[in-house]
Every structure is written in structure tokens, then in C-alpha cells.
Symmetry: none
């Protein structure tokens, strides 16, 4: 298969972890006789510095011309603590999602047996946890109209949703549930919010098309408790943009390391794959960033194009690296210093010489 892959490494540790994912994809291409062509472009703080925009036109053009996007991370503390900053790295990500129509964010959360002890939760509570969160990604309050009064003393953000925005991501979530344990939990705040009541109405109507899927409802505040109290009760979770942001980040702690979690952002024409962790600027260029999430996002990319054996090979290599503790210091109590690129080398080598 020939794939044109846009590589948007971004800020902080983005480049170093994305390099490992590219390295691994190149090994897969060689081993399975595919042709993957990688082209890079700027996004985030680095793009602001070079062009003034966090998501320059050249980057958009490359993304539109590519089959898939491999994304690193964006964000720089310089912008976080400056409330007057007019341009922000995060705007690059929001613009990218919107311009490419990436309306569904998919976040698998899995408790790896090798890492049960690394979790802040008790092993017996999380063993076997396997959740897939579908978060609506281009609507809701993050994209609604914002106002700031002239005197700067009052502000508003509008949360808006329409039937079509809800339906398209809900279809993906229902279908995912059909291929899994056939349970879908809609997380909302329908006892208070009008938009949540719309979500509940639309999703309830759709349920008749997926009669093999059990549909349940949970208020977001209760969901925030249940994810910690009993994560094994969940199969597929569907929710709106901001609730999904909060709930999926919360759920990311279950597995014991944010360095192991990948995500996909899917639209009708484009697809982007990235680790869930941020740009972690403190760790930049120290070789301590865990590349596994980025490498797992490469596996999700392959699965998106139905390259199932190829993805399985990467997952096997990752499990091997976890088992042998060929991991960066965040997961490693055995070896002194295994660097970001050393983990990438191990996984590359496993693919070239599967044991």
C-alpha cells in the first residue's frame, strides 16, 4: 500500500517521540513491502515563531494532500501564562480539526497487565479495563461564540450543538460498540443543559438502528466518579467535546502512564493520529519522553487503513518492550537510562527481526 503521511511534530517533546513513530512505520513499510512517504510541516508554537500562525496555510495544504497525519504535540508555557496573547499554539490544533473536519476523537484506555502496579488505582479495580471513548471534537463550547465586554469585566462562551453534529460521531460510537462488548454510555448533563437534552434525544432515537447495542446514560459528574470507582463497567463512552476532554484525560490515569495512550481524530475525508500527552516542554531534548504513545498512534493509523497485521506487529513489539522493561524512566525500575530513541530502536529491531 502507498500512503502519504504528513508529519506534524509540533512543540516540546513532539518531535522526538514522533521521530520514533516514523522510524517504526519505516520498519513496517520495509518488512511488509509498503511505500510510506513522509512529509513534515510546522504546527503550534514553532509555527507561530516561523510564520505568525499556529497552523499555516502550507501545513493545511500538506494535510489535505495526505492520506493521514501523524501528529506530535503542541503548546508552550510562554503562551499559557500570558492571558493577553493574541495567538496561541492550541489554536493550531483547533483550526486543524475544524479545517479537516475531524469531528470524532477516539481514545482507547486499556489497563496493561504489566503495568497494573503503576496505576494510582488498586490493581483489582482496574484489571481488565478496556474502554473506548468517542468524543465529539469540532462542536460545543470550545468552538462557540466568545465575547468579552469592552471593560473586560464580563465574558461569555456559547455551547451549541446540532443534530447532524451529534449523529455523525454517534454513528461511529454505535458501530464501535457493535464490534466490541455492545454497550454504549452517553455522558451528558441532561438534568441541566439544553444541549445535553438534545444529545440524549438524538442518541436515543438512533438506538433503534443499533438494537444489539445497550444504550445507557450517565451525568458527567457521576461519570467522573464511576470512571475511578468501577472503570470495568464501561465499554464505549460517547460524549460531547468538553466533557470528553475532561473524562478522557481522567480515564487516562487508569493505565498507569499517560505515555502509553494514543488517539485518533477522524473525519469523513481525513484522519489524524497522535499521542494524548502534551508537549511536556520540561522534558524536551532530554531523551526521557516515552515514545510508546506516539508509536501506538502509528499502530492506530495502520488499523485505520486496515493494515491489521502490521498494527498487531507494533503492538506485540510494544508489549515485549513493556515486559522486558525496555522503557523510558517513567516506567522503568530495572535499567538506569533507556532513552526515547533507544525504545524506538528496540521496537524497530523487533519488527525487523521478530523473535
Amino acid at each position: 500500500m502507498k500512503l502519504n503521511i504528513a508529519v506534524l511534530s509540533g512543540d516540546g517533546i513532539g518531535p522526538e517521540v514522533t521521530n520514533q513513530a516514523v522510524k517504526v512505520l519505516k520498519a513496517i513499510a520495509q518488512e511488509f513491502d509498503h511505500s510510506f512517504v513522509f512529509r513534515s510541516a510546522d504546527v503550534g508554537a514553532i509555527a507561530i515563531e516561523e510564520t505568525g500562525s499556529p497552523f499555516p496555510d502550507a501545513t493545511l495544504k500538506l494535510c489535505k494532500a495526505s492520506d493521514a497525519i501523524l501528529f506530535g504535540a503542541i503548546g508552550d508555557p510562554k503562551y499559557d501564562n500570558d492571558p493577553s496573547a493574541k495567538v496561541r499554539p492550541e489554536q493550531g490544533l483547533l483550526k486543524l480539526r475544524k479545517e479537516l473536519g475531524l469531528y470524532a476523537n477516539i481514545r482507547p484506555v486499556k489497563a496493561y497487565d504489566e503495568l497494573l502496579d503503576a496505576s494510582p488505582l488498586k490493581p483489582e479495580n482496574i484489571k481488565g479495563t478496556d474502554i473506548c471513548i468517542y468524543r465529539e471534537l469540532t462542536g460545543g463550547i470550545y468552538f462557540g461564540e466568545k465575547t468579552l465586554s469592552k471593560d473586560g469585566d464580563s465574558a461569555t462562551d456559547l455551547c451549541a450543538y446540532s443534530r447532524v453534529e451529534i449523529e455523525r460521531v454517534a454513528h461511529l460510537a454505535f458501530k464501535a460498540a457493535q464490534g466490541r462488548r455492545k454497550k454504549l454510555t452517553l455522558v451528558d448533563k441532561a438534568n441541566v443543559l439544553e444541549t445535553s437534552r438534545l444529545w440524549r434525544k438524538v442518541v436515543t432515537e438512533m438506538a433503534s438502528q443499533y438494537s444489539d447495542v445497550t444504550l445507557e446514560f450517565l451525568f458527567v459528574d457521576n461519570a467522573a466518579m464511576q470512571i475511578i470507582l468501577n472503570p470495568k463497567q464501561f465499554d464505549v463512552i460517547l460524549t460531547e467535546n468538553m466533557f470528553g476532554d475532561i473524562i478522557s484525560d481522567e480515564a487516562s490515569v487508569i493505565g498507569g502512564s499517560i505515555g502509553l495512550l494514543a488517539s485518533a481524530s477522524i473525519g469523513d475525508k481525513h484522519a489524524m493520529f497522535e499521542p494524548i500527552h502534551g508537549s511536556y516542554p520540561e522534558a524536551k531534548d532530554k531523551g526521557i519522553a516515552n515514545p510508546i504513545a506516539s508509536i501506538l498512534s502509528a499502530a492506530m493509523l495502520l488499523e485505520h487503513f486496515n493494515l491489521i497485521d502490521e498494527a498487531a506487529m507494533i503492538r506485540k513489539a510494544i508489549e515485549k518492550s513493556l515486559h522486558l522493561e525496555i522503557t523510558t524512566p517513567d516506567l522503568n525500575s530495572k535499567y538506569e537510562s533507556i532513552s526515547t530513541s533507544k525504545v524506538g530502536d528496540f521496537i524497530e529491531d523487533f519488527i525487523n527481526h521478530p523473535k
Copy 2:
């Protein structure tokens, strides 16, 4: 000190747990020579049955004439399962907060040594956790304008905040931090929301008045992780209404039992104290409801009036009861049946005869 206390026991287990709090406050009054006058009024489902309103005028009048309100719980399955119900018990609570101007919700979260094993989190991660969450309670998206299009296919909710709404709750949070470990964490989503940027701006400006308090910022999605990963890092958390709803319910799992968590809702003129648990109708009149959250809310009431020694006596009695497992079945593996009122009796007795 003379205090007029309005007792709004409400529905379900509300009356039986609130009775224990009243019993304990009476013991404190006797022991410390105060005069506490208790007057009861209806709220919730029981008020709907008697008057047609979940928050009758007579109740409002009593609340306004009192120094403090001791609140139980409201809610009845009869209304939950009737989507056509025009009047709901929960409306009583919203009306009460609004009419009395209770703009700050205060939620302490503590990990009791005796109950570390009951938590879904690992004991070593939570031992020593002592957080106090200040949630804005009468603004934001829960109270903003709502719209539903005529065709029913699109909906909006408006999140609005003004400087004065932020300042009044932030002052309370800064002051609380001054009396504690002097750290205040503002939870927001300032990288995306205009209202969050207003929060950050206003709170940052206020920080100069509280130069002994260290002010930190955390995005809400990151906060949802950090509360589980490392709850001990927090002292006072300040946040807007909806984030506070989610974050405080999430944090409630840390201690291992929702039956131990109390809250205060504070305004400029009025103050209300209540357990965070609901009316739990399945447990009504069985003697199994844990009264400690309600008794702790009585301790918060005393602290509100600067009766520090009195509150400390209650807390000491509660810790003794936990230590000896003089607790209701939810926490008790030692004794067969210690009822709601037996726990109240033990704490009353401890206050009358401190050992």
C-alpha cells in the same frame, strides 16, 4: 453564642441523618454553654406533597430569619421516573441557592487514615490528602440562557461570568488558603474559553492582596488527572460552577466513602451546611444511613461562626468512632449492626464525656 438554625431535613435519609447532626449540636451547646435554637421546615418532595412547592415561602422565610441552615437531602424516585412532572424536588435546592444568594460551595475532601483501604486509590497515594474545593455556585453555564430551535434540531447553553461573581468566591478561597497550607489552585480552561481567561485575569489581579498565598493554575482536563494521580499536591482548589461540579464529585471518591463528605454553601448573608450524598430513598428508615457527613456539616457550621474548639471536638469524636468502627454498615466490618442513631449517640456521648 446564640444561633438560630433552620433545619431542612428533606427527603429519604435526610431526616434521620440530620437528626444526628442536631443531636450532636445540642450536646455541643450544652458542653460549651451556647444557645442553639432549631426550627424545622419542609423542602423537596415532602414539601411538594404538603404545599405543591419544593421550596415553600414559609421555608424561605425561616431560612432568611435564621443564622444558618442545616440541610439534609432531597429527591424522590417518584419524580425521577416521571418525565412529565412539572415540579421536581431538585428545583427546591436551586431556588434555595438562588434566593439566599449562596454563591460559594465549599467541599472538603480528606483521606482518613482509618479508611485508606476503602478507597479505590492506592493508600500510599492518598494518605494525608486534605483538599478544600471552592466551587462558584450561581453562575456559569448551568444558569446561562438556553435555547432550542423550533425544529428541535439545535440547542445552545450560554456560559457567562462577570468580575464580581468571580471576585466574591475567590476572596473566600484565598482566605481559606491563608488559614491552611497557603496554596490556591485555579482550575479553568483558559487556553480555550473566554470566561476562563476572565477567571484567570481576575484571580491573578487579586493575588497581590494575598501575597502569602501561592497561586497556581491548572487546566480542568489536567486537574481531572492530577486529582487522582497526586491528590496531596492540592490545598485549596477554586473553580467555576460546572468544573466544580465535575471535579468535586470526582474528588469525592478519594476518601473511600461518600458518607463522610460534607459541604457548605455560603453567601454574603446566609450559609447552608449539608452532606454531599443524596436522599438515598432505598435506605430510608432502615437505620443504615451513615450520619457522619451530616454531623461533619454541623462541624462546618460551627467553624463558619468561628467556634473552632467546638468543631474540633466533633471531628475528634468522629475520628474516634472511625477508629473503633462505631460506624454504619457501609464502613463497618467489625460489628453486625450499628445504626444511624447509634453512631449519633456515640458522638454525642463522646462530647458529653470526652475521653
